[in-house]
C-alpha cells in the first residue's frame, strides 16, 4: 500500500497526458490498491463485456427455440446448458446482462434527475412547496417499494418499460430526501448567504451555487441505486411483471428455472441468478467505498 503510493508520486508528470488523463490514472491506481474495489470493477467489467460483445463472439441466438435441443445440461457447445425450449442459456445470459445494465443506467439517470429536482425545489423554496413535496415523498416511502413497483407495472400494462417506470418511481423519494437535506446544508453556507445578500435571484442561486454541490451526493447514491435497480427488475421479472416472452431477462429466467426445479434442469435458474448476484454485489461495493471516501458522515440511504 505504502510502496504503491510512493511509486505513484514519483512518476514523472507528463504534461502530454493532460488533466483528465491524470485524474483517470489516479482513480485507476486507487482502485488497484483496494482488493475489494478491484474485484468489483473486474466483475462489472466482465458483465459489461458480455453485455456488449456477447452476441459477437457467441454465435447462438438467445431466442431461437429448437425443441430437439431442449433441457441439455451444460456442455462445451452450451456452456450454461439449454432451457425447456432448447434455447442457449449462455446467449440469453449475455442478453440479460445487457438488459439489466441498461435498465440500471436508465433508473439511475431518471431517478437522480426527477428525485434531485424535487429535492432541490423543496430545499430551495421551503415553506408549503417543501411541505407538499416532502409529504408526497413520505407517502411513496410508506409503500413497500416492491409492491409500489408491482402496482405501477400492472396499472400501466405489464412490460419491461412499465416495470422500469415502477422502479424509477420507488427511487425518487430517496434521491429527493437526500438532495433536500444537502440543499439545506449548502444553503446555510456563507457563500450562498453572500450571494443572497448581493441580491441574486433564487433560481440563479440554485443553479449556480447549490446544484454543483450535489454532484458527489448524487453519484454515490446512484451507485447504490444501480444495484437496487438490477435487483428490483429481476424481482419483478420473477413474479411475471417484467420482461415479456421471449426477452431474456434474468428474473424471468430464474422463474423458468423454478418451474424446472423438480423435473431436472438446475442450470436454467442458477446462472441468471449468479448474474444478478455479481452485478448487485459489485455495485454495492463500489457504492460503499465511494461513501467511505467521499462522505464519512454516512448519511446516505442504503437499500
Amino acid at each position: 500500500m505504502e510502496a504503491g503510493r510512493i511509486a505513484a508520486t514519483q512518476l514523472p508528470r507528463t504534461h502530454v497526458l493532460g488533466r483528465w488523463a491524470r485524474a483517470a490514472g489516479r482513480v485507476a491506481r486507487f482502485i488497484a490498491h483496494d482488493p475489494a474495489l478491484l474485484t468489483a470493477h473486474v466483475l462489472l467489467g466482465v458483465l459489461v463485456l458480455l453485455a456488449l460483445l456477447g452476441n459477437v463472439f457467441w454465435s447462438h441466438d438467445p431466442n431461437t427455440a429448437d425443441l430437439n435441443l431442449a433441457l441439455h445440461s451444460p456442455s462445451a457447445s452450451h456452456p450454461m446448458g439449454t432451457d425447456s425450449l432448447g434455447r442457449d442459456v449462455f446467449a440469453r445470459f449475455n442478453q440479460g446482462a445487457r438488459i439489466s445494465l441498461i435498465i440500471g443506467a436508465i433508473v439511475v439517470v431518471a431517478g437522480a434527475l426527477l428525485g434531485g429536482a424535487i429535492g432541490v425545489l423543496a430545499g430551495t423554496f421551503g415553506g408549503w412547496t417543501d411541505n407538499l413535496l416532502m409529504r408526497c415523498m413520505d407517502s411513496l416511502l410508506a409503500f413497500p417499494p416492491l409492491i409500489l413497483a408491482m402496482a405501477v407495472t400492472v396499472g400501466l400494462g405489464v412490460g419491461l418499460k412499465t416495470a422500469t417506470l415502477g422502479v424509477i418511481l420507488t427511487t425518487i423519494p430517496f434521491y429527493a430526501r437526500l438532495c433536500r437535506s444537502d440543499v439545506l446544508r449548502v444553503r446555510s453556507l456563507s457563500f450562498v448567504e453572500a450571494a443572497n445578500a448581493l441580491g441574486a435571484r433564487r433560481g440563479w442561486i440554485m443553479l449556480r451555487h447549490i446544484v454543483p454541490h450535489l454532484t458527489s451526493t448524487l453519484l454515490i447514491q446512484s451507485a447504490a441505486v444501480f444495484g437496487y435497480a438490477i435487483l428490483s427488475i429481476a424481482a419483478l421479472g420473477f413474479v411475471g411483471l417484467g420482461a415479456q416472452v421471449p426477452t431474456p431477462e434474468w428474473g424471468s429466467m430464474i422463474t423458468d428455472g423454478l418451474n424446472n426445479v423438480l423435473t431436472g434442469g438446475w442450470w436454467i435458474g442458477v446462472f441468471p441468478g449468479v448474474g444478478v448476484l455479481l452485478g448487485v454485489t459489485a455495485t454495492s461495493i463500489v457504492a460503499d467505498r465511494a461513501r467511505d471516501i467521499f462522505d464519512p458522515r454516512g448519511e446516505y440511504l442504503r437499500f
Binding site: A36, R135, C136, D138, S139, L140, L141, A142, F143, P144, P145, L146, I147, M150, A151, V152, V154, G155, G157, S181, L184, R185, G227, L231, A234, A235, F238, V239, G240, L241, G251, I254, G257, L258, V261, L262, W266, G269, V270, P272, G273, V276, L277, L278, G279, V280, T281, A282, S284, I285, D288, R302
Partner: protein, 340 residues
C-alpha cells in the same frame, strides 16, 4: 418535545393518507373490468352491470374511496372477489404464516449477525474481518428468491435433507390446534413434538432465504458500531478496572452498539415484507406475500389496498416508535432538532 411528537404524528398520518390515495388511484385506473372476472366469460352485459353495481364499481370515485377508507377504519376490509371471502378473514388466515416466517428469519439473522460481528471485531484479524465483509456484501446482492431456489436444489433435490416446496407442514402432518396461527408456537402449546419438528424443518430453508439480506445488513451495521464504541474512552475505564477484554466487549460495548441498529428496523421490516413476497412463491408458503402477488395479477382491489394500507401503517408506526424511543432514551437526540 410535545410539539415534536405532534409533528411526527401529523407527518405519519399524512403519509398513510397519501399512501391510501395513491394505492386507490393506481388500482382504479387499471384497465380491465373486475366485474367481468366475477361473473365469468359467458355473462351478458346486464349481469356484468349488476355485479358492478353490487360491488359499488359504478359509484363515483370519491364515494368508492370514502367507502374504502371508512371500511378499513371499521375493520371491514371489503370482499375479495378473487377468492370469495372477506378480506379480514383472508388476512387473518394469511398473516400468521408470513409472521412466523418473518420472525424466524429475523431472529436467525439477528443472532448470527451479533455473533459474527462480535467475532469479527474482537478478533481483529484481516481474514475474519474480510470474510465477514464479503458475506455482508454477498447478502445485499443475493436475490432472495434465487437463494431460495439454490437452497431447494441443494438441500431438497440433491441431498434430500430438508422438505421441498410444500408449504408449512408435510402433507401427512396435522396442523396443531389453533391458538396463535404460528404452527411452532401452537405445537409447543399442545405439546405435539412431532408437529413442532416438522414445522421447524419446513421453516429452515425459507427463513434462511428471507433472512440473508437483513442479516447482511445487520452484520455490517453492528460491526461498524462495535468498532466505533470500542474506541470510546469509557471502555478504557472499564478495562482499567480489571474487567477482561471479552467481558468488556460483550457486557459494555455490545449493548451500546445496538442503539443505531434500532434505526435500521424500519428498513429491515421493509426488507422482510418485500422478501416474503418473493420467497413465499418459491416455497409455496401460504402467506400474505403470495396472496398479494396473486391479487395484484387478478386485480383483486380489496386485498391489495388492504395490504398496502397495513404495510404503510406498520412502516409508519415502526418509524415513529423508533424515533420516539430514541428520543426518550438518548437525551442527545432530544437536544438536537432534526432539519425538518
Amino acid at each position: 418535545m410535545g410539539k415534536l411528537v405532534l409533528n411526527r404524528i401529523a407527518g405519519a398520518l399524512a403519509a398513510v393518507f397519501g399512501a391510501s390515495i395513491l394505492s386507490f388511484v393506481f388500482l382504479r385506473l387499471f384497465p380491465g373490468d373486475p366485474a367481468r372476472l366475477v361473473v365469468g366469460p359467458l355473462a351478458t352485459q346486464e349481469q356484468i352491470d349488476a355485479v358492478s353495481h353490487q360491488m359499488g364499481l359504478d359509484k363515483p370515485l370519491w364515494t368508492q374511496y370514502w367507502r374504502y377508507v371508512w371500511g378499513f377504519l371499521r375493520g371491514d376490509w371489503g370482499y375479495s372477489f378473487g377468492s370469495g371471502q372477506n378480506v379480514t378473514t383472508l388476512m387473518g388466515d394469511r398473516i400468521p404464516p408470513s409472521l412466523e416466517l418473518g420472525l424466524f428469519a429475523f431472529l436467525g439473522a439477528f443472532v448470527v449477525a451479533v455473533v459474527l460481528a462480535l467475532v469479527a471485531t474482537y478478533q481483529r484479524r484481516p481474514i475474519v474481518d474480510g470474510t465477514v465483509r464479503t458475506i455482508s456484501f454477498l447478502g445485499l446482492g443475493t436475490p432472495p428468491f434465487w437463494l431460495g431456489l439454490l437452497l431447494l436444489l441443494l438441500f431438497f433435490v440433491h441431498f434430500g435433507w430438508l422438505p421441498g416446496p410444500e408449504g408449512r407442514l408435510s402433507a401427512a402432518t396435522i396442523a396443531p390446534p389453533h391458538h396463535t396461527g404460528l404452527y411452532t408456537i401452537d405445537a409447543l402449546i399442545a405439546g405435539q413434538w412431532g408437529t413442532l419438528w416438522d414445522a421447524i424443518r419446513h421453516l429452515i430453508l425459507p427463513a434462511f432465504a428471507l433472512g440473508f439480506a437483513p442479516f447482511a445488513y445487520l452484520v455490517r451495521l453492528l460491526r461498524a458500531n462495535l468498532l466505533d464504541v470500542s474506541r470510546e474512552p469509557f471502555l478504557l475505564v472499564v478495562r482499567s478496572k480489571g474487567v477482561s477484554r471479552w467481558a468488556s466487549f460483550t457486557r459494555h460495548a455490545l449493548p451500546n452498539a445496538f442503539l443505531p441498529t434500532l434505526t435500521a428496523s424500519g428498513l429491515i421490516l421493509a426488507q422482510l415484507i418485500a422478501g416474503s413476497v418473493l420467497v413465499e412463491k418459491v416455497f409455496n408458503w401460504p402467506g400474505v406475500g403470495q396472496l398479494v402477488v396473486d391479487s395484484i395479477l387478478r386485480k383483486d382491489f380489496a386485498v391489495v389496498e388492504t395490504f398496502i394500507l397495513l404495510s404503510a401503517l406498520s412502516y409508519v408506526v415502526v418509524n415513529a416508535l423508533v424515533d420516539f424511543l430514541y428520543g426518550a432514551i438518548d437525551p442527545r437526540v432530544r437536544a438536537w432538532s432534526p432539519p425538518v
